[in-house]
Symmetry: C2
Subunit: 108 residues, 2 copies
Amino acid sequence: MAVNKKSEFGESEKIIADFAKALGHPARVAILKELARRKTCVCGEIVEVLPLAQSTVSQHLKELSTAGLISGTVDGAKSCYCINWETFSQFEETFRVFFEHANIQRCC
Amino acid sequence: MAVNKKSEFGESEKIIADFAKALGHPARVAILKELARRKTCVCGEIVEVLPLAQSTVSQHLKELSTAGLISGTVDGAKSCYCINWETFSQFEETFRVFFEHANIQRCC
DNA sequence: ATCGTTTATCGTAGATTTGCGATTGATTTT
DNA sequence: AAAATCAATCGCAAATCTACGATAAACGAT
């Protein structure tokens, strides 16, 4: 595209879109599923479960991290990740407010 | 990418990812906001509100439609769109089940 | 100190997304 | 019937995303 128009939208539109985009790939959903299932959550264990190369998984982890859906800390040579449930509930709240006064009726 | 690996993931991962991806652009969120706000919901009115060309808006409408987030019917020369709230509640349910047995505690 | 393990990052290729103008087809309006 | 309006689609350019191998960096074990 000639220009990126994403700056022209409102703040809540961007917040919702960013969260949704982070969730918008099956690999990242699968990562979240794994993190939700396990108590320990090391990168290598996620790599084992997914049909993707280590570098690709690491990239997805970074995206999830940037979007605030997960948190990670270095634990020796390994990296420990976990879900940032706060971000999820914040999103739910934003989403709820966003469609608060919606007209539920269908016009077509 | 060399190969598309999206077929390798589970069904619920794909369902969640597809819904999220459709929601993953501020323009599409803005369209949904406008549809939620209005009773009548004609394409031209959405074009007026967004900082995008008519053809681009039409494309976003098609994506939302394909993902099942909105429905559209032809109304003479115009096109009437509205939100498919059923899809939203279906997503909420899938999402809820997906993270049903999650470990809320943070490990890092 | 060297070796193996673990994970992040870099560079790159190919796919997809985003955006626009132009065009088309269909319907209103005049 | 001609002109104007509305919206979908086509074709294209640019941006972004996805994926991988190679490499680097950081740590633990030997």
